[in-house]
Symmetry: C2
Subunit: 363 residues, 2 copies
Amino acid sequence: MAKIIVKTERYSYPITIDTGLIHNLASFLPLKANDQVMLVTNQTLAPLYLKSLLITLEGNGIKVDQVVLPDGEQYKSLTGLEQIFAALSEKFHGRDTTLIALGGGVIGDLTGFAAACYQRGVRFIQVPTTLLAQVDAAIGGKTAINHAMSKNMIGAFHQPISVVIDLDFLQTLPKSEFISGLAEVIKYAIALDSDFFVWLENNIEDLLARDTTALRYCIRRCCELKAGIVAIDEREENGQRALLNLGHTYGHAIEVAMGYGTWSHGQAVAAGMVMAAETAKLLGQFATADIERIKVLLLRAGLPTHGPDTMTAESYLPYMQRDKKVLAGELRLILPTGIGQSEIRSGIPSHIVIKAIKHSQIS
Amino acid sequence: MAKIIVKTERYSYPITIDTGLIHNLASFLPLKANDQVMLVTNQTLAPLYLKSLLITLEGNGIKVDQVVLPDGEQYKSLTGLEQIFAALSEKFHGRDTTLIALGGGVIGDLTGFAAACYQRGVRFIQVPTTLLAQVDAAIGGKTAINHAMSKNMIGAFHQPISVVIDLDFLQTLPKSEFISGLAEVIKYAIALDSDFFVWLENNIEDLLARDTTALRYCIRRCCELKAGIVAIDEREENGQRALLNLGHTYGHAIEVAMGYGTWSHGQAVAAGMVMAAETAKLLGQFATADIERIKVLLLRAGLPTHGPDTMTAESYLPYMQRDKKVLAGELRLILPTGIGQSEIRSGIPSHIVIKAIKHSQIS
Ligand SMILES: NC(=O)c1ccc[n+]([C@@H]2O[C@H](COP(=O)([O-])OP(=O)(O)OC[C@H]3O[C@@H](n4cnc5c(N)ncnc54)[C@H](O)[C@@H]3O)[C@@H](O)[C@H]2O)c1
Ligand SMILES: NC(=O)c1ccc[n+]([C@@H]2O[C@H](COP(=O)([O-])OP(=O)(O)OC[C@H]3O[C@@H](n4cnc5c(N)ncnc54)[C@H](O)[C@@H]3O)[C@@H](O)[C@H]2O)c1
Ligand SMILES: [Zn+2]
Ligand SMILES: [Zn+2]
C-alpha cells in the first residue's frame, strides 16, 4: 500500500493506493460508526461497485444515503447538482455530513463542488474509478460543473479529506477510457519528470495490460507529482499548477471544434502535446529527437500524434484563447523545454503556433 | 471617513464608511482604468443609484457590464445565479474580472456567491445599500443562495476585496427595512458590547431620524465588532461567529412558521432576542432588569418584544433545530449572559425553552 500526503493551505490529506481498498473501512478514515454519508455515483458504476462499498460502510455502522445519477458529462451541471442538494436536504444532512464520490472525473468534480457549496462546505472523499481521475481529477481540490457551452465555468477549490485509489476499479474500465487516461500520465512525464518518461518507455506494454505492479508504480508517481504541484500552487496562482495543462490549449481547440466527445480528452491532449513540442522546437527550445520519442510513446499507448485531418492549422486559433490577446496575435502557452521540464510562455506569435500545428500534421 | 480593516486567512480588506462614496473612484480601489467589472443590482436600486455609480466607474475608464435583476429574495437562487453567469460568459469576463454588488443582503449574498464560483473564484466588491447589509451581510464573506425551502443552503466563504458603505443610501431606504436593520444593530450590543448598548439607549431617536453623525458612529461600531469576530472565526468553526446568531434560532421559527416575509427578519430577531434573554434568565444567568432594558430599547426602535399571538410556545420547537437532537429534548442556543456578553449553550432542555417563550408572550 502506498500513502502520499497532499499538503494544502488549510490541512493535509492522504492519497491511499492499493488493491481491495473498498472492502476495508480503514481506507475511509476518519469515517466512523454513526457518521452520516451521502454516496454519489452513476448508473454504470452502481451495479459494479456500489454493493461492495455499502457493505463496507454500513457494515461498520455508517449511515449511508445515495444519489445514483445517469452516466455522462451532461450531469456535471446544475441539473446534477440539484439532485445532490435535493437528496441532502430531504435526508436532513447537516454540516457534519461527508460526501463520497464513487466514479470518474465527472462524478468527482460534481460531488466535490456539491460538497464545496452545501451549507458553505462539508467534507468529501474521492474514490476515483478511472485512470484519469486516479492520476489527476481526484487530487488537488479543483471542483466544477459545466455551464451552457463552457466547461468547468462554475466551481470551487475545495480539498477532499481523503483520496482512495483502488486499483481493482481499472480492470472494468473500457479500453478507450484507459488509453485516454494514459495521455495524462504521459503529460506528467513530459512536463515534470524525465525519469518517469523513461520508465513509461520501458513499461508501457505492462500498463496497457493493466498489470497491477505497473499500475501501482505509475499511479503513485503521478500522484506524487500532482501532490507536489498542489502543495506549491493550490489555487493556480503562481503558474506551477498551470504546467499540468501542457497540450491542453491545443487539445481544447480539437475538442470544441470537433464537438465534445468526438475526440476523447486524452486523444486531444496527446495531439496537443505534440503541437506544443513543435511550437517549442520552432522557438528553439526543443530537440527534434525528443519530439520523436514523444510520438513513439504516444503511438505505443494507442494515442494520436496529430489533430483531425479535417481541421486546418488556422482553425485552432479562435478556440485557443478566450480573451482578446489572441486577436492581437499573441498567445500564452505551456511549452516543454525538454522531456521532463516545461514553462509558461507568453507573447508567442500566432504564426508560429500555426506553423507548429502544420508541422505536427504532416510529419 | 472611517476605515476598518477586516483580517482574514488569505488577505485583509478595507471597509470604508462615509457619505458621497459612490461619486469617488478612490472608494473602489484597487479598481483602475481598463479593469473589467460586472455590476449586479436590482430594479429598485437601478433608477436610484446606477447612473451615479456608472459615471464614477466609466468616467475613470473602467469597463462596466451590468445585470439588473428583479427585486426580491426569490432571486437569491439558482435562477438569479444563472443570469449573472450568463452575462459574465456572454461578455467574455475572465478570471481577472471584478463583480460589484450594489444592493442589500439579497444582491450581496447572490453576487458574492457568483464571484465565489465563477471560474473557481473572482474578486468582488460589496456596496451595501440597506442598514442590515451595511452592518452585517456585506462583511465577512458569508455568501449563499436559497434552495427549495432552505435559506442559504448553498454557499461559500468568499471574502470581498473591499466594502464600500455610503451612508447616503440609507436616506431612501423604506422605514420598515431600516427598522429591521436596527434589530441587528441591537443584537451586536446585547451579544458583544455593553457600552454600545448604552450608546444606543442615548441615541436611538437620532438613529431613527437617520442623522448622519449617529449613523456613522453606529455603523462603524457594528463593523468593528463584526470584523473582530471574523478575524478570529472566519468560517464559523470555533463558536465565536455563532454569537452573531443571538435571537436567530427563535426568530427563524417565527419566520418559517408565519411564512417568510410576514414578519420581517428584524422583527423576528427582536422577539427572538427577548426569548433568548428569558431562557437565560430561567437558567439563572440573566437579570430581570436587563430584560426590561432590552425590551424598552426594542420598543423605542419600533420593534416587537414577543412573537406572534397565533403561535404557541410549543410550536416553535420543530423549527428551532433541524437535526435530531431536538427530538431528544435538548437544544443548542446562543444566550446572553448579561448585556454585552453571550455564549453558546448546549443541552438546554426543551421545557425551559417553552417556558421562556411563554414568559416573553405574557409579559
Ligand atoms: N478536477 C480536476 O482537476 C480535473 C482534471 C482532469 C479532468 N477533470 C474532469 O474529469 C472529467 C472526465 O473524467 P473521466 O475521464 O474520469 O470521465 P467519466 O467520469 O465520464 O468516466 C468515463 C466513463 O467511464 C465510466 N467508468 C468510470 N469508472 C469505471 C470503471 N471502473 N469501470 C467501468 N466504467 C467506468 C464512466 O461511467 C464513464 O462512462 C471531465 O469532466 C473533466 O473536466 C477534472
Ligand atoms: N451574508 C451574511 O452574512 C448575511 C447576514 C445577514 C443577512 N443576510 C441575507 O441578507 C438578505 C436580507 O438583506 P436585506 O435586509 O438587505 O434585504 P434586501 O436586499 O432584500 O433589501 C430590502 C429591500 O430594500 C430595497 N432597498 C435596498 N437598498 C435600498 C435603498 N438604499 N433605498 C431604497 N430601497 C432599497 C431592496 O430593493 C429590497 O426591496 C437575506 O437574504 C439574508 O439571508 C446575509
Ligand atoms: Zn486533462
Ligand atoms: Zn440576521
